[in-house]
Amino acid sequence: MILRRKLQRWNNSLHRDLGYLFFGMTIIYSLSGVILNHFKSGDLKHPDYSKSYWEFEVALPPGGKVDQAYIDNVLVVADEKGNYKSHIYSDSSLRIYLTTGSITIDLHSGSAFQEKKKPLYVIKEFNLLHYNNIKKLYTWYSDIYAVALILLALTGLFILRGKNGILGRGAWLTVLGIIIPALFLLFYT
């Protein structure tokens, strides 16, 4: 009985402290996870930037020659004066890079396609951690977090006793939580 109480106390303390310690990481990974989920499913064009697109018409360059004056005119039409970064062109198209996106012009038809982008601050940094771009020491820290999540899950099972514990309602919910992903695997793979 004493041992059981002692184990229960250890279990609850471990769950509590890991919960406090990894609160920040859990928020980072869950918010970034939602974004990456929808990026992967195609709902978002970019995980770090919101993007919008539209089309308009521009005059073709005089004599087919692309120069800075022509680019400046396009920027005025697109209301992007002051946002110019650089440009590249071929016989058939011109791409103007802007600090806010890009404009691609078909040099045969004069149709222009503009992409505008805005950084998703904070989410962008969260994604950096989620993707483990940092590597080095963060690889170990995020491994520790993963192990802590397992411990949180395991200790969470034994926090409560009685009808809402793992031998009552908890058992049903735990089994359901295992069956749901298993069903996805079964039907979608």
Binding site: P47, K85, I88, Y89, Y97, S102, P119, L128, K136, L137
Partner: protein
């Protein structure tokens, strides 16, 4: 209290050491024997610089959306595009770099594709969706933005290139960046 301060100091030291591992060895190599290569002459010169440190300058035309581990450099037009990948000391190539002029120092890498490689890649693509991302053939030649049909078309094109090259492999070159600077 003292214990807590010691623990904090140890943690800080640990972070400082881990973050400061930019390789004196590589820095020395960059200074001493860096070759210069241009985007326009990249394909012609690349075979001479395999696994050596080179410097290249160009305009960033694209960065990879999936973690920013790759970017492509062009110069004036997009007829030649040079792939740059992140080395261990570079966190990512941010989308904000697109359109910027950059100077990259890195190690020139060669990837060879032969018929065996193409067959394995083709088999992976034909497997169910769940297997696509775990394969080994999503590297320099493939891109995660492509559809399965795009990739199959690409594989067919490579087969054709391989046949007309008269060799048993195709070479693809990229640069693993050690460091880079934004010039504008």
């Amino acid at each position: 209290m003292v214990k807590r301060h010691i623990l904090f100091a140890v943690l800080l030291l640990f972070f400082a050491i881990a973050c400061n591992q930019i390789t004196k060895e590589t820095a020395h190599q960059i200074a001493s024997d860096t070759g210069k290569i241009t985007v326009a002459t990249f394909l012609a010169n690349a075979p001479n610089w395999i696994n050596k440190i080179i410097m290249i300058e160009g305009t960033v035309s694209h960065t990879c959306k999936h973690g920013g581990k790759r970017m492509f450099l062009v110069d004036g037009n997009d007829s030649v595009s040079v792939e740059i990948t992140t080395g261990p000391d570079i966190v990512k190539f941010d989308e904000a770099l697109v359109g910027s002029r950059v100077k990259v120092f890195g190690i020139l890498k060669e990837e060879r594709i032969d018929e065996k490689y193409l067959s394995e890649w083709e088999n992976e693509i034909k497997k169910p969706q769940a297997n696509h991302d775990v394969g080994v053939h999503t590297g320099a030649k493939g891109h995660m933005d492509q559809t399965a049909q795009d990739v199959l078309d690409q594989i067919a094109a490579y087969r054709q290139d391989l046949k007309s090259s008269g060799k048993d492999h195709l070479s693809f070159f990229s640069i693993e960046a050690v460091k880079f600077e934004e010039l504008n």
